[in-house]
C-alpha cells in the first residue's frame, strides 16, 4: 500500500508549524530573506558569501586570519624553559615553537556529527604571539579545512590547551578519521590538570573563564557564552552574514590569548611557589602545588621548591591546622624518602606538639621505634593521643601499634626481669 509521501510530509510540517513554539532567544539574529517555511532555502555558496572582517581565503571554503600581539614575557618563559612542559631532550626543540590551541565545535556533546568549525593556534615568533584562526566556511569544505589544519597542527609539535585533552584533541582526531585520515597530537600539555591542583580548593569552578577573572584579573567585555557558539555558526550558515560570527571570533581569540597568559602565570607560581605564597595576591592551594611538583616528570629538579613550600605552610601560624598537618605529613614523607630520618622526626615532633593529631602520632611513633630505637618513647606518644573523632582506620592502626609495643615491652621486661 503506497503512502502518499509528499502529502504526509507536508502534513507533518503543518503540524509542526502549528504546534512548535520555538523559544526565541533575544540575541538571535533576525533572519533575512524568505522564511524557510515558505520559500526556497538560501543556497550554500561559499563563493557568494563575503569573508568575515580580516579573513582571507586559504582554500576553497576555508577562511583564515592572523593577529599578532606583543608577548615579551611569554618569550622569556619559553626561552628559559617552563616547568609546565615535559623534559625530554627533543622537547627543548619543540618548546621553541609551542602551540597554544583551542577549537570551536558545532555541538558540545561530541560524537561523529559534531564538527570543528573554528580552529585557532598561537605560536611564538620572536617577541610576538601569532594567533591564527581558521574558519570552515561551509560543512562540505571539511576536507580542505583539514588539509589546512594538518599544515598548522603538525603531529609532533608541542601543544598547550585548557581542557583540550578530554575534548578538543579527541574531536580533531575524530574529524580526521571521519575523512579517512589519521592525525593526532602526540605531545599535549593540558593546563586543566595543574590548574585543578592549584585552585580546586580555592575557587568555585576551574573553568578558563573563572581563572581569567580570579587569577589573571581579566574582565572581558560582552563575552559570548560558550553555549551560544554553535547557534551563531548555524545562523551564519543559514544567512551568510559574517557579523553573526564576530563575537565567536573574539571569544575564541581571547581564549587563546588567555591561555598563554595563564601559562605564564602558572609557570611563575610553580617555579617560585614560596615567593608567590608570600605575596598572597593570587591565593592557591600550596599543599596541592607541592603534590604537583613532587609528581612532576622532573621531580628531582622541583623537590627543593616543594619542600620549601611545605615548610613555609607548616610554620605559618596564620594557616589552618588541617593545612599545616597535611603539609607536615607530606614534608615528613619527603624527608623519609630522601633518607633524612632526623628531619622527618623533627617535622612530626613539631606537628605532634602543636596539634596532637593522631595521624602525626602514628608517624612520629614509627620514626621513634624504627630509627631512634626508642619503643618506650613511641608507646608514650601513642598513649597520649586523643582518639576522639579520629577516623576508624587510624584508630585501628593506633590500637594495633600500641598493643604490639606493649607486648614488646612486656617481653623485654620478662627477659631482663
Amino acid at each position: 500500500m503506497a503512502h502518499d509521501l509528499a502529502g504526509r510530509i507536508r502534513l507533518l510540517r503543518q503540524l509542526r508549524d502549528s504546534r512548535l513554539t520555538r523559544p526565541s532567544t533575544a540575541d538571535e539574529e533576525p533572519e533575512s530573506g524568505p522564511s524557510p517555511q515558505t520559500g526556497p532555502i538560501p543556497v550554500a555558496g561559499e563563493a557568494a558569501a563575503p569573508p568575515p572582517t580580516g579573513f582571507s581565503a586559504l582554500a576553497d571554503g576555508v577562511w583564515g586570519r592572523v593577529i599578532r600581539l606583543a608577548a615579551p614575557q611569554l618569550a622569556q618563559v619559553v626561552r628559559r624553559g617552563s616547568v609546565l612542559l615535559p623534559a625530554a631532550d627533543d622537547a627543548a626543540a619543540r618548546a621553541a615553537s609551542i602551540r597554544f590551541f583551542d577549537l570551536e565545535t558545532t555541538g558540545l556533546s561530541g560524537g561523529a556529527g559534531t564538527k570543528v568549525f573554528l580552529a585557532g593556534v598561537g605560536v611564538l615568533e620572536e617577541e610576538t604571539l601569532r594567533v591564527e584562526q581558521l574558519l570552515l566556511a561551509d560543512l562540505g569544505a571539511e576536507p580542505a579545512f583539514l588539509d589546512q589544519l594538518a599544515l598548522r597542527f603538525p603531529e609532533d609539535a608541542l601543544y598547550v590547551s585548557y581542557n583540550g585533552r578530554a575534548f578538543d584533541a579527541h574531536q580533531l582526531k575524530t574529524r580526521f578519521l571521519m575523512n579517512r585520515r589519521v592525525h593526532s597530537l602526540q605531545f599535549h600539555v593540558d593546563l586543566l590538570y595543574p590548574a585543578r591542583r592549584l585552585w580546586r580548593s580555592v575557587l568555585s569552578r576551574c573553568s578558563l573563564a573563572e581563572l581569567e577573572r580570579s587569577v589573571l584579573s581579566i574582565r572581558r567585555e560582552a563575552d559570548l557564552p560558550s553555549a551560544e557558539v554553535p547557534e551563531r555558526y548555524f545562523a551564519y550558515l543559514r544567512n551568510r552574514d559574517p557579523a553573526a560570527l564576530e563575537p565567536v571570533f573574539a571569544h575564541h581569540y581571547h581564549d587563546i590569548v588567555s591561555l598563554s597568559w595563564l601559562f605564564i602565570t602558572m609557570d611563575e607560581i610553580l617555579r617560585r611557589p614560596c615567593a608567590w605564597l608570600a605575596r598572597s595576591e593570587v591565593p592557591f592551594d600550596a599543599v596541592q602545588a607541592a603534590v604537583w611538583l613532587l609528581s612532576h616528570p622532573r621531580a628531582a629538579d622541583r623537590r627543593f621548591e616543594a619542600e620549601e613550600l611545605l615548610n613555609a605552610v607548616l610554620r605559618d601560624e596564620d594557616r589552618a591546622s588541617d593545612e599545616r598537618v597535611e603539609a607536615g605529613l607530606l614534608l615528613g614523607t619527603c624527608h623519609k624518602r630522601a633518607a633524612r630520618p632526623h628531619e622527618a622526626e623533627q617535622v612530626y615532633r613539631l606537628l605532634y606538639e602543636t596539634f596532637r593529631d593522631p595521624r602525626v602520632a602514628v608517624e612520629l611513633a614509627k620514626q621513634l621505634e624504627h630509627h631512634r630505637r626508642d619503643p618506650a618513647g613511641a608507646l608514650e606518644v601513642l598513649e597520649a593521643v586523643d582518639l576522639q573523632g579520629c577516623p576508624r582506620g587510624v584508630t585501628d592502626d593506633i590500637e594495633y601499634r600500641t598493643q604490639r609495643l606493649l607486648r614488646k615491652r612486656d617481653r623485654g621486661r620478662a627477659l631482663h626481669g
Partner: protein, 777 residues
C-alpha cells in the same frame, strides 16, 4: 512417579477441574537428531566442547555452522532449550581462533539477556582456555572498562539501544571493532516486530552504513522463536536474503497442554470466575505438590496481584509445608532485583515466579515443571513460547492456559483446534514509518554525511529535504551534513513513542530511592496524583507526578483498592490517503490526530473488583498523530444497510460493541498487543457525515497496523461473529460484546443486535469487493 505425574493424575481425576477443561492435549516426547562435530573444528574449540560433554551437535547446530562458515546470513528457528547459543557461537569462536583480529557483535533485546549470555560465554571461553576476549557493553558498563572493551573485546555483547545511542554515534572510537566486524548476532529476532522492530531495522541500516564506511561486511546470524515468517522478518530487518534453518534436532520431553475455562459464576450475565483467582488456585496446587511453576500474567498489575495472593495463601501453610518462595518479576524492577530472582530460580531457592512476558525470552532460569498462562498472552507464538518455559529438560512438563473472560481468550479456549492447528502469527515491521524513519535519518546523517542519491530507505531524499527545511541537516558540496548542535540519538527511544521516561521515586519516610520508570504517555494514565502503584507486591500512592522533571513521588500505603484511569478521546481526520470498497463497506486509510485526556479515575476494590469511588485527575492532554482505518457505513453499502436495518436506538450500542470486539480479536491476526490498536465509533461523524468506526494505530505515525487491519478485515469480522454467536450469555458479557451497561438505557438485546448486524454485513461479502483506488483528500 514424579511430582508432575502425580499432580497430573490428580487433576485428571478431579471432576470439578476436568469439567472446565476444553482441551487436554498430550504432546509426545521427541527424539533428538544429531550430527558429528565438524571435522575442521579448531582443536582447542573441540577440546572445550568435549570437556563440557558436547560430543555431537544437533542437526540445526551443524547446519548453521556450515552456512555461517561459508559466509551466508542465516536465521535459526530455535524452540526453548534447543542449544541455541551453540548454533552461533561455534562458527564465531572457530573464526576468532583462526583470525584473532576478527570481531563479533551480539545483540540481545534486553540487558538481562545480554548479561546472562556473557556469563554463559565466559564459562565456555575461560573454561576451555580459548583466550577469546568477551566484553559486555551496555548502560551498566562502568566508564573505566569501556575503553578496554572497545579496544580488546573480540566479542562485544550489547543491546540495540546501546548500539543506537552509544556505539554508532561515536563510531570513530570503535574504528578497530567496526572495521573488523565479521559477525552480528541478533538473538530473539521475533521480538523485533512492530515499533521495536521498525526501530531495529533502522539501527541495522545505520550499522551497515558504518561498517561499509570502514570496509567491513559482517555476516548476520539471527535466532528466532517459532513465528510464522522468520525468514521474511529477518530479511526485512537486515535488508538482505537469509538462509532459513529450522530443522530443530533437539530432543524434548513430553508435555501436557491444558486449555482451561474457569466456571461460570453467573451464566446469564456471562460472568466467569476471574483468571487471577483461578491461576492462583492452580499455581498453589502445583507448588504444594512440589512442582516448580512459572505463572505468566498479562500486565504488571496482574503480576503483582497474583504474586501477592499466592504469598498470602501460603502464609497459612508454610509452617507445615516448609518455605515455598514465590517472587514477582516484571519490567520496571531494578536490574539487581531481577538478577537476584533469576539466580533464585536457578539455584532452587525460589520455587515459583509470577512474571509478565519479561521472562518469556531466553533468560536462563533453569528447569521449571509447570507453566500457568493467566490469560491468553495475545498471540499463539507467545503462548508456545511461554508454555515452553516449562520442561527445559527431558522431563514431563505441563502448561495450562487459564482463559480470562476477554473475547480473545474465550475464542481460543472454545476453538482449541484453531489454537492448536493454526500456524503462528507473522511478525512485521514498518521501518519506513514517517516518524521512525525521520528519527533514524537524523541519526544516520549525524553519523556520516549522506549523498542525496544514497538509498538509505525508499525515497529517503524527500525526507532529507524535509530535514533540511527543519534546519537539522544542510546540503553542502553535494552531501547532506548534520547541522544542529544536538545529539539526535538521545531523543529517540527504540522502545516507546517518547524518549522521556518518568522515574518513580519512593519517598516513604523521607528516604528517596528509585523503584522504577515508565514512559510519559503511560505515566499520565497510571501515575496521576492519588493513583495506587503496585511494585513487588507493595502498594504505593502517588503523592506527586512532576511531568516537567520526569519524576513521580510515591509513598508506601495499604488500601483495599487499586485505581484505573478513565480516558477521554477526541479524533480529527487530517488527511485521506486511500479509499477502497471491500468487505461490504467503504474503507478509508489516512492520518488522524487523537487527543487524549485523563480527567477522572476509578477506585476498584481488590477481589470483588467493584467500583468504590472516583477521583479527579489533572494532567495535560496527550496528542498523537497516527494512521487510521475508518470504516464508513454509507447507506448504499451492505454494512451501511445492515446498520440501518437495526432499531435506531440500537445502532450506537451495536457499533460500539463491534469496535470492542474487533479490537480484541485483531491482535491474533496482526501479532500486536490489544493496546496497540484502538477503536472509536461515531454515529454521525463530522468529517465523513456518516456513521463511522475508526480503527487506529496506537503508535505515533502508525506502524502499519491500520493497513494490516484493512487487509484482514473479513477474517477478523468473521471471527468476531463466531465469538458472539458461540457465547453462552444472553445479552452480552465481558467475553463477547461486553456486559450491558445500565447507563446506556437501551431496551433491545445488544448481543442479538451485534450478531444480526455482523451477519447481514458479512453475508455476501465476496461479491462486491472492488479494486483499491487512490484518492488524495
Amino acid at each position: 512417579m514424579s511430582a508432575v505425574e502425580r499432580v497430573l493424575a490428580e487433576l485428571k481425576n478431579d471432576p470439578v477441574f476436568a469439567a472446565n477443561v476444553s482441551q487436554w492435549q498430550e504432546i509426545p516426547a521427541r527424539e533428538g537428531t544429531y550430527a558429528p562435530l565438524p571435522s575442521d573444528l579448531h582443536p582447542r574449540l573441540r577440546a572445550t566442547l568435549e570437556a563440557g560433554g558436547v560430543r555431537q551437535l544437533y542437526n540445526h547446530q551443524a547446519d548453521s555452522y556450515r552456512a555461517v562458515r561459508s559466509g551466508r546470513d542465516v536465521v535459526v528457528v530455535t524452540p526453548t532449550a534447543s542449544g541455541k547459543t551453540l548454533s552461533y557461537n561455534l562458527a564465531i569462536l572457530q573464526e576468532l581462533l583462526h583470525r584473532p583480529e576478527a570481531r563479533a557483535l551480539y545483540l540481545f533485546p534486553t540487558k538481562a539477556l545480554s548479561q546472562d549470555q556473557q556469563a554463559g560465554l565466559n564459562l565456555a571461553v575461560e573454561g576451555g582456555e580459548l583466550g577469546v576476549k568477551v566484553a559486555t557493553y551496555d548502560g551498566d558498563t562502568p566508564d573505566s572498562v569501556r575503553a578496554s572493551a572497545r579496544e580488546t573485546g573480540q566479542i562485544i555483547i550489547s543491546n540495540p539501544d546501546m548500539l543506537h545511542s552509544g556505539i554508532l554515534p561515536n563510531h570513530p572510537k570503535w574504528i578497530k571493532f567496526l572495521g573488523n566486524l565479521a559477525f552480528v548476532v541478533i538473538d530473539e529476532i521475533h521480538t523485533y516486530r512492530g515499533v521495536f522492530g521498525s526501530h531495529m531495522t533502522n539501527v541495522v541500516r545505520r550499522l551497515r552504513r558504518i561498517t561499509e564506511f570502514y570496509g567491513a561486511d559482517p555476516t548476520f546470524i539471527c535466532c528466532s522463536a517459532t513465528i510464522g515468517n522468520p525468514r521474511e522478518l529477518a530479511e526485512r530487518i537486515i535488508g538482505r536474503n537469509v538462509e532459513l534453518i529450522d530443522n530443530n534436532g533437539a530432543p524434548s520431553g513430553a508435555k501436557h497442554l491444558i486449555l482451561y475455562n474457569p466456571p461460570f459464576v453467573d451464566r446469564v450475565q456471562g460472568i466467569r470466575k476471574g483468571v487471577v483467582q483461578e491461576a492462583r488456585a492452580l499455581t498453589l496446587r502445583f507448588l504444594k505438590a512440589g512442582v516448580k511453576t512459572i505463572v505468566f500474567a498479562r500486565s504488571r498489575l496482574r503480576t503483582e496481584l497474583i504474586a501477592a495472593y499466592i504469598r498470602r495463601s501460603l502464609e497459612n501453610v508454610y509452617t507445615d509445608h516448609g518455605r515455598i518462595n514465590v517472587e514477582a518479576y516484571r519490567g520496571g524492577y531494578l536490574p539487581s532485583e531481577r538478577r537476584a530472582i533469576e539466580r533464585g530460580l536457578r539455584d532452587g531457592t525460589v520455587q515459583g515466579v509470577v512474571s509478565t512476558n519479561a521472562l518469556e525470552l531466553g533468560i536462563d532460569i533453569g528447569g521449571l515443571d509447570a507453566a500457568v498462562l493467566a490469560g491468553f498472552p495475545g498471540s499463539i507464538s507467545s503462548s508456545w513460547q511461554q508454555a515452553g518455559r516449562a520442561g527445559r529438560t527431558r522431563n514431563l512438563s505441563v502448561a495450562v492456559l487459564v482463559a480470562s473472560s476477554s473475547p480473545l481468550d474465550q475464542y481460543m479456549v472454545k476453538h482449541p483446534h484453531y489454537f492448536l492447528g493454526r500456524a503462528p502469527e507473522q511478525g512485521f515491521v514498518d521501518p519506513d514509518n514517517l516518524h521512525i524513519l525521520i528519527s533514524h535519518l537524523r541519526c544516520a546523517v549525524f553519523e556520516l554525511p549522506m549523498k542525496p542519491e544514497e538509498r538509505y530507505a525508499p525515497q529517503s531524499e524527500l525526507y532529507l529535504q524535509h530535514l533540511e527545511e527543519e534546519g537539522t541537516v544542510r546540503l553542502s558540496a553535494g552531501m547532506y551534513h548534520w547541522s544542529d548542535r544536538s545529539y539526535p540519538a538521545e531523543s529517540v527511544s527504540l522502545r516507546s513513542a517518547t524518549a522521556d521516561n518518568v522515574v518513580i521515586v519512593d519517598s516513604t519516610n523521607g528516604e528517596y530511592s528509585v523503584i522504577g520508570e515508565t514512559d510519559r504517555p503511560s505515566a499520565k494514565e497510571v501515575l496521576f496524583d492519588n493513583a495506587i502503584y503496585i511494585h513487588r507486591g507493595e502498594q504505593y500512592v502517588v503523592t506527586e507526578l512532576d511531568l516537567e522533571n520526569r519524576k513521580c513521588l510515591v509513598e508506601r500505603t495499604d488500601v483495599n483498592y487499586y485505581t484505573e484511569a478513565l480516558v477521554k478521546r477526541d479524533i480529527k481526520v487530517l488527511h485521506e490517503d486511500e479509499t477502497r470498497h471491500a468487505g461490504g463497506s467503504r474503507l478509508v486509510l489516512g492520518d488522524i490526530l487523537v487527543r487524549t485526556q485523563v480527567a477522572k479515575f476509578k477506585k476498584i476494590r481488590f477481589q470483588s473488583h467493584e467500583n468504590v469511588g472516583y477521583g479527579e485527575v489533572s494532567v495535560p492532554e496527550e496528542e498523537m498523530h497516527t494512521r487510521a482505518l475508518t470504516i464508513v457505513f454509507d447507506p448504499d453499502t451492505r454494512a451501511g444497510g445492515a446498520l440501518r436495518e437495526l432499531d435506531p436506538a440500537m445502532r450506537v450500542p451495536a457499533v460500539v460493541r463491534i469496535g470492542t470486539l474487533v479490537k480484541n480479536v485483531a491482535p491474533v491476526f496482526l501479532l500486536c498487543e490489544a493496546t496497540d490498536l484502538r477503536a472509536a465509533e461515531r454515529l454521525k461523524d463530522p468529517h465523513f457525515g456518516q456513521p463511522c468506526l475508526y480503527i487506529y494505530d496506537g503508535y505515533p505515525g502508525g506502524i502499519g497496523l491500520a493497513e494490516a487491519f484493512a487487509g484482514q478485515l473479513e477474517p477478523i469480522l468473521a471471527a468476531a461473529l463466531s465469538l458472539v454467536r458461540d457465547c453462552e450469555c444472553s445479552e452480552g458479557c465481558p467475553s463477547c460484546v461486553g456486559p450491558r451497561d445500565p447507563q446506556e438505557e437501551i431496551d433491545g438485546n445488544p448481543k442479538e443486535a451485534v450478531s444480526a448486524f455482523l451477519a447481514a454485513w458479512l453475508s455476501v461479502s465476496d461479491a462486491d469487493a472492488e479494486p483499491a483506488q487512490a484518492q488524495d483528500g
